[in-house]
């Protein structure tokens, strides 16, 4: 009688790719909660709508490729892409904006490049950049954070948020409560000292953007959880944040009207922490070795600062990440770790 033939090793650690992705989703929760508290239910509506679209599209592609859809849906990678894109979009974004973004992320950036594991670019960032270039007006209408303007109406509840995104149910005028983001205001400023700017504009908080400080702290918390769970190593996020801080320090000039903004301002405003712990750490499109990830993260940090300060866009995480995605294979080529018994110390 023939016994079962299996190759070694015969043991494996429990868990699968799906459990990795679920940890990532869990780590996003604090950030989502803070965003909801600040901007109302628009973020939640975005997320749910994006997830439904992503799951449907993923299943459709798997059916087309003659693969069992449930096996691939279980890895939750489509959900992660959808949630990341939804968080990056303005709350109360129209329904079709989310549709186009998710469609581009899942269908083009992920599956046309070969599907899970084969995409050279971060799918969520590809979707985001396509939207930002194609629909600049819709993409820059950020809701004002609760409490930033004294006589502001309370944030929208679930139903009115639904109405804002899907105007055929009911119509909520959203112009009333949108405002420019802190990075926008900072970028447009060329007359006020940084201190005056912080005092005069409702967009600014104690050291970062008003409310954005809390969003960034919440994503930092989630990132810390993932580091603790060893979902990724510290190399890429820490090097990105360090590079951004060093760049900001170099151009800070103690707060004149030409200042690029303090390191604290850059670290805790915009998508910095979301980018550092949830985008830069996307393993598929990043460099592979730990040394490589140091270079990769540093490149992103430098590019974020350059684009924020000297480019045409107020925030730059998506562009910086996509540019460094290009560079990842090159970085890999030059950053192979030293193998046991080769060169160096013996």
């Amino acid at each position: 009688m023939a016994l079962l033939h299996v190759t070694s090793p015969h043991m494996s650690r429990s868990g699968d790719t799906g459990s990795v992705m679920r940890h990532v989703l869990l780590a996003l929760v604090p950030g989502i909660v803070v965003m909801t508290a600040l901007f109302g239910w628009g973020t939640i509506v975005n997320i749910i709508w994006a997830c439904l679209l992503a799951l449907a599209m993923e299943a459709m592609v798997m059916r087309l490729r003659n693969r069992p859809p449930m096996f691939y849906l279980r890895d939750c990678s489509a959900l992660v892409t959808a949630v990341l894109l939804a968080i990056a979009l303005p709350p109360y974004a129209p329904w079709w904006l989310v549709l186009v973004g998710v469609g581009f992320s899942i269908l083009v950036a992920k599956h046309l490049y070969g599907g899970m594991g084969y995409n050279p670019f971060n799918p969520a960032m590809v979707g985001y950049v396509v939207l930002l270039i194609s629909f600049p007006i819709e993409m820059t209408q950020w809701a004002a954070p609760a409490g930033s303007v004294p006589d502001q109406a309370p944030t929208l509840g679930p139903l009115s948020a639904l109405g804002a995104s899907f105007p055929f149910f009911s119509s909520t005028p959203i112009d009333a409560f949108t405002m420019a983001t802190p990075l926008d205001v900072f970028k447009q400023n060329d007359s006020l000292m940084v201190e005056e700017l912080f005092a005069s504009s409702p967009q600014f908080g104690s050291f970062g953007g008003y409310g954005w400080e809390w969003v960034n702290l919440a994503f930092l918390l989630g990132g810390g959880y993932l580091l603790y769970k060893r979902i990724f190593t510290w190399h890429a996020p820490v090097s990105m944040l360090a590079a951004l801080a060093v760049m900001a320090l170099m151009f800070n000039d103690s707060g004149s009207s030409a200042s690029g903004g303090s390191p604290m301002f850059h670290l805790f405003t915009g998508a910095t922490m979301l980018g550092a712990f949830f985008i830069v750490t996307d393993p598929v499109s990043s460099a592979v070795s730990n040394i490589g990830r140091l270079y990769y993260g540093a490149g992103i940090g430098v590019l974020i600062y350059l684009i924020r300060s000297f480019g045409n866009y107020p925030d730059a995480v998506a562009f910086a990440v996509l540019l460094m995605n290009f560079a990842a294979p090159l970085i890999d080529h030059y950053t192979q770790p030293r193998t046991y018994g080769h060169g160096g110390q013996q």
Binding site: L3, D16, Q346
Partner: protein, 538 residues
């Protein structure tokens, strides 16, 4: 308890994993002795190296410990009868191999009397020549008992230019489930140390380090208590798989790395398994060749788990049945541990010198692997790799058959420990990809050597033909010149002397000489050009 010295420095290795150890279940009982089976099947090849050559004939009466096959080279060990009986067959039998292949074996029908042949101990081993001691160990058929099965005597004959400063005894036993060495230490520490005494005498190292993981403090205590003044250091270090790999253990204990493609002897180190030390003791002090070993029988598919001393050549089936094993179509039987062991296709294969463990798990204990998902390059494999490779890149290049890239990523340094596959969240059988790629690379290297041979042969032939052709041309030119000379002389004679004629004759002679010189020069310079071209091509 005994007074512990201050801890000796150890080094950490890169990566490594902490799988569930599953060692306690086989340590409950003392080592048992498996009964003599009705038939012994002894493969001629039980070590890395050339198979042994039978020196008995069909029908011969053999005694326990009698040599039945001779070593056939430097890297080869002889084979001995594990019990007394008659040679029933010398033929191919299925052996313990992951492919289920057959190989030449000597089959002995035992008579149950277990009569010993002549035993030749070498108790006064310090009095004999070192080479005599090495050949005594070799004649006892001893090969590394940790799993690889490298002939022990080879390691004990280091080249004169590489003196051994450090002897490392590997008692790590880092694979889950296996406790054969652990049980051996607990029960026979004194004999193990006697074996180490022999090694120490042979190699004259400055330091003798016995390394083991800190998950068996009782074994460390047993060794320390048996030391009785010997200058051996028992070193415990944190448990982590695969600390017991030879190269890994050397790094842990000395902080040095064995150069890629090199041997521990390059660092002045010899590493021996602790089970091998015990076998050496038996060979030297008791005159008993290697005819039995301690094997761990474990896994939930068995009724009684534990370590048994089993005669080499006993079939796995026979031993496992005594421990209540019932094979079904879904049974998995692993020789070795769960990380590096391989499944055998049938249990009717013999236990050999390297069988340190038989693992018979239930399907729920070691479930069949899940379907592999896509690699997301998460890098957990690279974090786990004890050799600092990039498994995710090697997987990529293995699939793409990019052999140059695989070599550039040092796939040859992979020790196939399985740590990468163990941590892979996508359940990719990474090690299997590397095995296949390594086999393909070996094949390509062999083909390259063959092609190189053919090329050299072809070029040599071409050169020989060219040389013959040039020789022919040169002769032809010489003949032509000689003919011209004769004709000129004739002319000169015909026109009856004079300075003019003498000049003409001289000119002809010069021309002929120039032609000869040119032919010679061509013959010299031409053969050089094709070979220099080839060097440029290489």
């Amino acid at each position: 308890m005994n007074t512990r010295q201050k801890p000796i420095q150890t080094w950490d290795i890169h990566g490594g994993i902490h799988p569930p150890e599953n060692k306690t279940q086989s340590l409950g009982n003392p080592i048992q002795t498996a009964p003599i089976p009705a038939q012994l099947i002894l493969p001629l090849s039980q070590s890395i190296g050339a198979p042994a050559e039978p020196c008995v004939a069909l029908g011969d009466q053999v005694f326990k410990g009698q040599k039945i096959a001779d070593a056939t080279g430097f890297v080869s060990v002889p084979l001995h009868a594990s019990s007394s009986g008659r040679v029933a067959a010398i033929e191919d039998r299925p052996i313990a191999h992951s492919s289920g292949m057959s190989a030449p074996c000597i089959v002995i029908d035992t008579d149950g009397e277990d009569r010993w042949g002549a035993r030749n101990p070498l108790t006064e081993y310090t009095a004999v020549d070192r080479s005599a001691l090495v050949s005594h160990i070799r004649n006892a058929g001893i090969a590394g008992m940790g799993g690889a099965g490298f002939p022990t005597a080879v390691k004990l004959s280091p080249p004169a230019d590489k003196p051994i400063a450090t002897l490392i005894i590997n008692a790590t036993e880092c694979e889950p489930y296996i406790t054969a060495d652990h049980a051996l230490i607990l029960e026979r520490a004194e004999e193990i140390l006697q074996g180490i005494d022999v090694l120490t005498h042979l190699l004259q190292p400055a330091r003798i380090l016995i390394g083991l993981e800190d998950n068996k403090p009782d074994a460390a205590t047993a060794l320390n208590e048996a030391l009785s003044g010997r200058p051996y250091q028992v070193i415990e270090f944190p448990t982590k798989y695969p600390s017991g790999g030879e190269k890994q253990l050397i790094e842990i204990l000395t902080g040095k790395q064995v150069p890629s493609g090199g041997l521990p002897a390059d660092l002045g180190i010899v590493c021996q398994n602790i089970g091998t030390c015990y076998a050496i003791k038996r060979a030297v002090f008791d005159g008993e060749p290697l005819i039995s070993r301690i094997t761990t029988l474990t896994g939930n598919a068995l009724n009684t788990l534990g370590n048994v001393e089993v005669l080499l050549g006993t079939t796995m089936q026979a031993v496992l049945e005594q421990h209540g094993w019932q094979a079904t179509a879904k049974s998995r039987l692993i020789m070795g541990g769960p990380m590096m062991g391989f499944t055998v296709l049938s249990a009717n294969v013999p236990i050999v010198k390297t069988t340190n463990c038989l693992l018979a798990p239930t399907p729920s204990e070691l479930p069949s692997p899940d379907m592999a998902q896509a690699c997301i390059r998460c890098g957990m494999c690279a974090e786990a790799c004890p050799v600092s490779l990039l498994p995710q890149q090697m997987y990529w290049y293995s699939r793409a058959r990019e052999y140059e890239q695989l070599e550039a990523h040092n796939i040859a340094d992979c020790i196939e420990c399985g740590a990468c596959s163990y941590v892979c969240p996508s359940n990719i059988p990474l090690v299997q990809y590397y095995r296949a790629s390594k086999a393909e690379l070996r094949e390509r290297a062999e083909e390259h050597v063959k092609a190189e041979h053919s090329r050299q042969r072809f070029e040599f032939r071409q050169e020989r033909l060219d040389a013959a052709e040039r020789e022919k041309e040169a002769k032809k030119a010489a003949r032509k010149a000689a003919a011209a000379k004769r004709a000129a002389e004739k002319d000169a004679a015909a026109t009856a002397g004079g300075e003019d004629n003498a000049a003409t004759a001289k000119q002809v002679e010069v021309e002929a000489a120039v032609a000869r010189a040119k032919a010679k020069k061509d013959a010299l310079s031409e053969p050089a050009s094709p070979s220099s071209n080839n060097e440029a091509n290489d």
